[in-house]
């Protein structure tokens, strides 16, 4: 079994050279590979000096969970085990992280919902663990296909939420996620989401740095809450539980704690800006009549629509949101300036991202915001359908 005491100042326990996050993400030479999203999760975690991972199978994340298990067998991950179910997994992740481990897990759809109670607990205990979420439908009748309604349930858990567009971004984002989440002035959990199948099972080219370099280990003693050790019970504040005191002190403590968790997410902006190269990413015309605001696969589909609209002479721009929590309000306002129409294409029935966009732009934008096209239940979003929606508002020859 690998252990922290095997590390030296230069090398981690698996013999990988410890390099700075900037070197790993931006400077190390990269080579082309052809991989699925699940495979690239293994490659990312291999380079993250991960202490612990807990898994439970559910399509479409099972292969990623399996591959992280292989990393443990190969000596790259400190410990790895299967939980009893997703509720157990997320609780065990909390335990590992409270004990000072860099911890990762993966889940999808019904698994996320089953584990729900744990996510606000994670943020409340200020653990910087990472959940790699491969979104799938959550409702009956059963579907295993991509639908990201589950993300709407996570928006107010206090966890940071980032959304990767493709296999490449999933690789880079899951590495950056640990770095940002573990900053002492942030130090809250992070959920890195992708759309299941569209990313997890899609094979495409990806540029990876060598696998003999890795992130420095997590330093739990730089945390705002000290980790469990012989002196510390899980989460120091639990030693004298406020739940026993129904008085003003209890209310005030919880209220201020909730604000603090959200402030911590806000403080992540400057780090995310650096390690993600911006909270939003814009492609297309500088000044555009039609602007698509999207995250994940929907931004990919919008880029395909942009290419077709450009051929038809329609000025167009795609604003991809890389972070959902914290929400990139100012960046969004800046990027959508001058737009006649803002379309928000989504892979869910309720339009949770549309709601977020409308809330952010309220009173600060003249643009008409249109929550279309919207597909759900695992449907794909062909570019032809996006163009049909645009044609309802913009004259296309």
């Amino acid at each position: 079994m690998t252990k922290r005491s095997d590390m030296t100042a230069e090398k981690n326990w698996s013999g990988q050279k410890i390099v700075s996050p900037d070197y790993l993400l931006f400077e190390a030479p990269r080579e082309k590979h052809f991989m699925t999203g699940s495979e690239v999760v293994k490659e990312a975690m291999k380079r993250c000096t991960v202490d612990a991972s807990v898994s439970y199978p559910i399509t479409p994340q099972s292969e990623a969970a399996h591959l992280i298990g292989e990393l443990w067998a190969e000596g790259y991950i400190g410990t790895y085990f299967r939980g009893e179910n997703e509720f157990g997994v997320m609780s065990e992740v909390a335990g590992c992280a409270m004990a000072g481990s860099r911890t990762v897990t993966t889940t999808s759809g019904p698994g996320t919902l089953r584990a729900m109670e744990n996510f606000p607990m994670w943020s409340g205990t200020r653990i910087p663990c990472q959940l790699i979420l491969m979104a799938r439908g959550i409702n009956s009748p059963l579907t295993i296909q991509p639908d990201n309604l589950e993300v709407s349930f996570l928006l107010e858990t206090g966890c940071m939420i980032w959304y990767a567009e493709n296999v490449q971004e999933l690789f880079d984002m899951t590495i950056a996620a640990f770095i940002v989440a573990e900053k002492p002035d942030v130090h809250i959990p992070i959920i890195t989401a992708v759309d299941g199948f569209f990313v997890s099972h899609t094979r495409e080219s990806v540029m990876l740095p060598a696998d003999d370099i890795a992130l420095p280990p997590y330093d739990p003693y730089a945390a705002p809450l000290p980790p469990i050790d012989s002196e510390m019970p899980p989460g120091r504040f639990l030693r004298d539980p406020f739940v026993m005191k129904s008085n003003y002190i209890s209310y005030a403590t919880h209220a201020s704690w909730q604000w603090e968790v959200r402030s911590a997410a806000d403080r992540s902006r400057k780090y995310a800006k650096h390690f993600l190269k911006g909270l939003v990413h814009t492609t297309g015309d500088d000044v555009a009549d039609v602007v698509f605001v999207a995250c994940g696969t929907a931004s990919h589909q919008a880029k395909e629509a942009h290419r077709e609209l450009a051929k038809l002479g329609v000025t167009c721009k795609v604003v991809k949101l890389r972070t959902i929590r914290p929400f990139p309000t100012e960046e969004l306002i800046e990027a959508t300036k001058g737009a006649k129409y803002i379309f928000v294409p989504e892979f869910n029935v309720t339009g949770w991202l549309y709601n977020e966009v409308v809330k952010a732009l309220y009173g600060r934008s003249e643009s008409e915001v249109i929550g279309k096209p919207r597909v759900a239940g695992g449907m794909s979003m062909p570019v032809e359908e996006i163009l049909k929606e645009v044609a309802n508002f913009v004259k296309i020859d």
């Binding site: 099972s62 080219s205 570019v383």
Partner: protein
């Protein structure tokens, strides 16, 4: 006219290897220098249940993901896709684009007169061939049907050569590969049929190669225009990834 990207839809039955074929197709196209993406869609992972796979190949970056609703090419791996509607889309050619192509693995004619008229009106060419028998004759197993279909696809396209296909097949069978339980057990079945893994690869290659030649000849006979621009048209584009 040759396009800057094409989308291939592969409706098949669970166990036929359409997912594997799509992955090899994309790997081969990537090896040839194209932008390429493959992905599967399936429900319950059981044999003979509908399973679809998709490959997109282009000289421009491919952002489109998921089910191919408007395909340029449809490859039918099993007659039941047509006769029993074991397909995610009905009829099986729903959404097919003008000047498209349908490749059908069947020992009998499956198209009705109405189907033929609709496809002819869209100038869609149809290649029907018993690729399962073809696979049995060359590789000695029906499990190589997917390789025959794959070879036929590239034979028709003409811009992705046999060395790239070989690379795709080797990449799939020689590298450590992670798949679902169903695929892993099928891998083990097919590996047992051959003494060595290299025999398996050789037989697969021979099957794909023979189907390649057959389909290339057919494309010439029916006067099929080139469907995809050759890889010399590939232009590198900044696709805005986190890292440049």
């Amino acid at each position: 006219m040759a396009k800057d990207s094409i989308k291939v839809r592969m409706p098949a039955l669970g166990g036929q290897g359409a997912v594997t074929a799509a992955h090899i197709a994309a790997t081969a196209a990537d090896t040839e220098g194209y932008y390429a993406v493959s992905n599967p869609f399936f429900g319950a992972e059981k044999r003979m249940a509908p399973s679809e796979s998709y490959t997109r190949i282009g000289t421009v970056p491919i952002f489109d993901r998921g089910e191919v609703v408007y395909p340029d090419i449809v490859m039918i791996y099993h007659p039941q896709v047509v006769t029993m509607g074991k397909s995610y889309t009905m009829p099986f050619y729903a959404g097919i684009k003008d000047d498209g192509l349908v490749i059908i693995n069947s020992d009998i004619e499956l198209l009705t007169d109405e189907d033929k008229k609709i496809l002819a009106d869209k100038n869609v060419k149809v290649l029907t061939k018993d690729f399962t028998k073809f696979a049995i004759d060359i590789a000695g197993t029906e499990l190589a049907t997917n390789m025959a279909m794959l070879g036929a696809l590239f034979g028709v396209l003409g811009t992705i050569g046999k060395p790239a296909i070989e690379e795709g097949i080797k990449d799939r069978f020689l590298k450590k590969y992670t798949a679902s339980g169903g695929t892993a057990s099928l891998d083990s079945v097919i590996e047992k049929k051959f003494k060595k893994k290299l025999d398996l690869i050789q037989k697969n290659l021979e099957t794909a190669s023979a189907a390649f030649d057959l389909a290339a000849e057919w494309a010439k006979e029916v006067g099929l225009e080139p469907m995809l621009l050759d890889p010399s048209h590939v232009v590198p584009v900044d696709t805005g990834y986190v890292t440049a």
